[in-house]
């Protein structure tokens, strides 16, 4: 198997592993980009295409296809924030978020949706983002779909996804095929541990190589600590090299100077960097309204193997329950399947002792549906807030309120009904007090009476959004619709923290499309030339 990234490094791409630095360093560039995920990498490609000198810094390590051995024991500590167990302040929500070169695009399950029209329309009417119409954004999504080879998954779904489709069809709930950013995909099912065959068109295989081939510099294992300001300009970024463990600063300091800074560390780390830097925030908007698509889990046992570990992890979805009420009404949810691997399933599943072991023995016959709740539209769904711990590290406080739990109960009911309709003889919501049900009638009554509360009912998230929201005026947000900071003139934000609400679909393509637009505008402004053609 080829490893194109390693071949590129051998051909002279500039990569520095900051854990190997022996002395303090200073870098100068036209633009310094913090974070190498969906936002930072698309920006790096487009700015370098405009002839700008770019440095990308990344807190996580550089891992490439030859490192991806499809083992949870290696992938989680290597590639995820907090070993795939980042949590909200009260520990009621576990968050899967990438922390490696390529960010979450290296480890996501490849679902690639355009920002739903209902979301863009709401942003136009409720958040004043008049420029972000469905028509205005369509070419940017189309360009990124082409760039990242996004297409409807052409193979039959695996049995895990097929059960969702079958159950939904029984109940006349429409489902659709998921577009994925893959090319020559082997249909293995290990996207969450890094793609070993270079099929996933993540940033690691596309935009980062393009930027490096044009002379950009990538520095990994470097933690952005603090921006220094002079008046209303950012003048330097102070960063800390990490030890090879990726956790502790080595004591080596790196100072980065640039004409312009782009923050793209994800919707927890970007607001946290600005908070640590005491960035101007005259209207108190920074780090507020952080959204998660808080997600409920329903597990079913079938009487035949499902093998949810094998095959494209997500290939079927339903947005039926997003369309049953106005966008700002009772919270809607998207239904998707979730791949199961031993550690992910065993830690998600409630219970201990024989009760847990019994379910684990049925691992191969287990099927799981996720309900991703669309947060940020209803007046009582204002999300969470990014704060700093005493040591300066970020902490997301996301209280789960009654408005959420009302939706959670509907979601648990909908998932159980679909699983029974698909032929499951046994279904349980993942909930500490749930004992499992053998019929839909039993489940309907049981779930209606389940006490829904934090740390009782399992809630997870793989989508962090908001915290540096776009707005039409400084009183209502942190940045303009172009991602330009309202107070700091040479600072842009190019990641999921831009979103004023959640997306209502897996967000990677929303980030790609919006950032492609904004990076093109930024490239034109900085290079003093017309906008580059993006392909």
């Amino acid at each position: 198997m080829r490893d194109p990234f390693r071949e590129g490094l051998a051909s002279g791409w500039k990569h520095i592993d900051a854990s190997e630095l022996a002395a303090d360093r200073t870098f100068e560039a036209d633009v310094v980009i913090v974070g190498s995920g969906a936002g930072g990498s698309v920006t790096a490609e487009l700015l370098s295409a405009a002839g700008l000198e770019v440095v990308i810094i990344e807190e996580g390590p550089l891992r490439t296809s030859s490192d991806f051995r499809m083992l949870e024991s290696e992938a989680y500590p290597d590639l995820y924030q907090d070993s795939a167990s980042r949590q909200t302040a009260d520990k009621a929500i576990k968050i899967l978020q990438g922390r490696c070169v390529g960010g979450s695009t290296t480890v996501n399950w490849t679902s690639s949706f355009r920002t739903p029209p209902a979301t863009l329309q709401w942003w136009q009417t409720a958040h004043g983002l008049k420029n972000l119409s469905v028509d205005a954004m369509a070419p940017w999504f189309a360009a990124m779909e082409l760039r990242l080879h996004v297409g409807l998954w052409p193979l039959p779904p695996n049995d895990n996804n097929a059960a969702l489709a079958r159950g939904a069809a029984q109940l006349d709930i429409p489902v659709a095929v998921i577009p994925r950013n893959v090319k020559m995909c082997w249909n293995l099912g290990y996207c969450g541990m890094g793609c070993p065959t270079n099929a996933k068109q993540s940033m690691l295989l596309t935009t980062i190589p393009a930027a490096l081939a044009r002379g950009a510099t990538l520095i990994s294992r470097l933690r952005a600590e603090k921006l220094e300001f002079s008046g209303n300009k950012a003048v330097a970024l102070e960063a800390l090299a990490l030890k090879p463990d990726g956790l502790r600063p080595s004591g080596i300091r790196v100072s980065l100077r640039a004409r312009h800074f782009v923050l793209a560390g994800g919707a927890i780390n970007t607001p946290a960097l600005l908070l640590r830097s005491h960035a101007a925030d005259p209207h108190g908007r920074l780090g507020k309204r952080t959204f998660l698509h808080p997600t409920l889990v329903s597990a079913a046992l079938f009487d035949k193997p499902i093998r949810a570990y094998a095959g494209a992890p997500q290939s079927v979805y339903s947005d039926h329950f997003l369309t049953q009420a106005p966008v700002d009404g009772p919270l809607g949810f998207e239904l998707e399947a979730a791949p199961l691997h031993p550690v992910l399933f065993a830690t998600t599943l409630h219970g201990w002792g024989e009760a847990h072991a019994r379910l684990m023995r049925e691992f191969a016959n287990s099927q799981t549906i996720l309900a991703l709740v669309r947060d940020g539209f209803h007046p009582a769904s204002s999300g969470g807030q990014v704060k700093l711990r005493d040591d300066g590290s970020p902490l997301l406080d996301y209280p789960l309120n009654e408005t959420f739990w009302e939706a959670a109960r509907r979601a648990l009911l909908a998932m159980a009904e679909i699983q029974f309709a698909a032929g499951a003889p046994w279904v349980t919501p993942v909930h500490e007090a749930a004992v499992g049900y053998q019929t839909w009638a039993e489940a309907k009554q049981g779930i209606a009476n389940l006490p829904l509360a934090p740390l009782r009912c399992r809630v997870v998230s793989a989508h962090v959004m908001g915290g540096c929201a776009m707005a039409d005026a400084p009183e209502r947000g942190v940045v303009s619709d172009e991602g330009r900071h309202f107070q700091i003139e040479n600072l842009s934000i190019h990641d999921g923290s831009l979103f004023p609400t959640s997306i209502g679909a897996n967000p990677q393509l929303s980030i790609y499309g919006l950032v492609a637009r904004n990076a093109s505008l930024l490239a034109a402004a900085l290079a003093g030339k017309p906008r580059p053609a993006i392909l």
Partner: protein, 161 residues
């Protein structure tokens, strides 16, 4: 919302106990091993062989797996896990907050099971999250190992050449 530290300062245990627990003497990983050696057979009942020569060895390997997992967590999370095990290691807090009256090596599976259920369904978020942390560390360490996969019919990752 109550953080662990705030809860301990205002809750049943009190600031004095927290400080004393943090000062309990042996190295952190040794203290943790004593607690884990008692908890692992209870969490893993039905997965761990009931008896026989390998049982002790598998418990030891699971403890090592938990230590490795903790070492990969962010420093802030490692500190919280440290506080959780301080609380469980220190006899007065073990008795008052966990309700386990015997030292861990002598605690019966029934007493440990009662403790797990009391934290799992506690009205305090702190104790619920403490249970959840133990749950994730122990099950994560167990099922990360290829030798546990045959029992759950997981073939392991496919070959990619």
């Amino acid at each position: 919302m109550t953080t662990r530290r705030e809860f301990l300062k205002t809750g049943v245990a009190g600031a004095l106990l927290l400080n004393l627990a943090a000062c309990a003497s042996p190295p952190e990983s040794d203290r943790r091993a004593v607690v884990l050696a008692a908890l692992i057979p209870v969490f893993l009942e039905g997965a761990l062989p009931a008896n026989g020569g390998t049982r002790g060895e598998l418990i030891t390997r699971t403890i090592a797996g938990v230590e490795k997992a903790i070492a990969g967590l962010s420093l802030a999370t490692q500190k919280e896990i440290g506080e959780l095990f301080d609380l469980l290691s220190f006899a007065p807090t073990r008795m008052i907050v966990a309700g386990v009256w015997s030292p861990w090596p002598e605690a019966t599976p029934e007493a440990i099971g009662k403790f797990l259920e009391s934290w799992r369904h506690s009205r305090f978020d702190l104790l619920k999250s403490g249970y959840a942390g133990l749950h994730d560390l122990i099950f994560g360490a167990w099922y990360a190992r290829p030798d546990t996969w045959a029992a759950i019919d997981y073939p392991g990752p496919p070959k990619v050449e």
